[in-house]
Symmetry: C2
Subunit: 208 residues, 2 copies
Amino acid sequence: MQAEPARLSALIQALCRLPGIGRKSAQRISYHLLQRDRSGGNALALALTEAMTHIGACERCRNFSETPVCSLCLSEQRDSSLLCIVESPADVFAMEEAGYQGKYFVLMGRLSPLDGIGPQELGLDKLAARLAGARDGAAGSTEVKEVILATNSTMEGEATAHYINDIVRNYQIRVTRIAHGVPLGGELEYIDSHTLSHALAGRREVAA
Amino acid sequence: MQAEPARLSALIQALCRLPGIGRKSAQRISYHLLQRDRSGGNALALALTEAMTHIGACERCRNFSETPVCSLCLSEQRDSSLLCIVESPADVFAMEEAGYQGKYFVLMGRLSPLDGIGPQELGLDKLAARLAGARDGAAGSTEVKEVILATNSTMEGEATAHYINDIVRNYQIRVTRIAHGVPLGGELEYIDSHTLSHALAGRREVAA
């Protein structure tokens, strides 16, 4: 016996497609919206439609943007000599929280040949063109003096960083990689040995 | 510096209103939809609008329904002499899973005077009218012979069950309460003492 109205089942199904939402949560959310917050449900529907329709990719950095070029790329307050390369918009958010003041290039993924994600999918041709412009001083180009590789510290993230390093080297631009080591508040006893060996290799002189 | 497009912030905000979804999950869901599943986002928007617009309450049992009277109330296969009273549509779902074959009355809440939820809000006048119809044999009435109180075993659920019991008694209809005791697979050692005292009080003769 089908105890649920068809449209309720459809809503639960649609919610189940979201990452991290299982059948039980989808049910709870649907009941909540129907019973107590219909305006919230309608507001969410509108926000979804608006976002899916109007948010595209920035022509310069590939980050989410409602305009052809995003506000971060257009900003004159930011240091155009720094170009930070990250995997996803969430990473841009994290870097902003950390106080980074330069520009970005968002890969929207990482090299993963098995999943069919190659240099083309990550827009690395666009990155190369941008760096070439930086060297030649072409119109509309930024003057990138340093590329900061801030891909994740996973196998694929490292491979991607390595690959991009090779590209950037062609343009005689400085390339750096964010430091890997013991997180603040981390205890050595509980840190994995690979991280600790990175921390050791990356040790610095202590000021007197 | 606002790193997010306004419509992305709006979507994250709208998702944060859902129960059990925090800022971080909302962000992850938004990024996922924009990056990898725009059709899923649009499908969800449509499902939400459809559900919020077309799902109302059944005139008889107050459960969610797309039609004036829901399919469970209309069904002739179900035992009309049993009326199970539950707090929410999720409880109907749970009872169905447990194999219950009678009819329902859904309170859509529980008595909670501090939150302004009284007998009126739970449709208890409608319940009384239905039971009166059952006794007088009025047109369109069901012949309820037993009311099963299946409100939650919380303080408020118990108070609600007690209140409804008083109503039903007026109509000389049998009233039962679902059993409380040790859940299947539960170990006595870890069961709280109130549940155990219920289990003890509700003990039954073992068949030879």
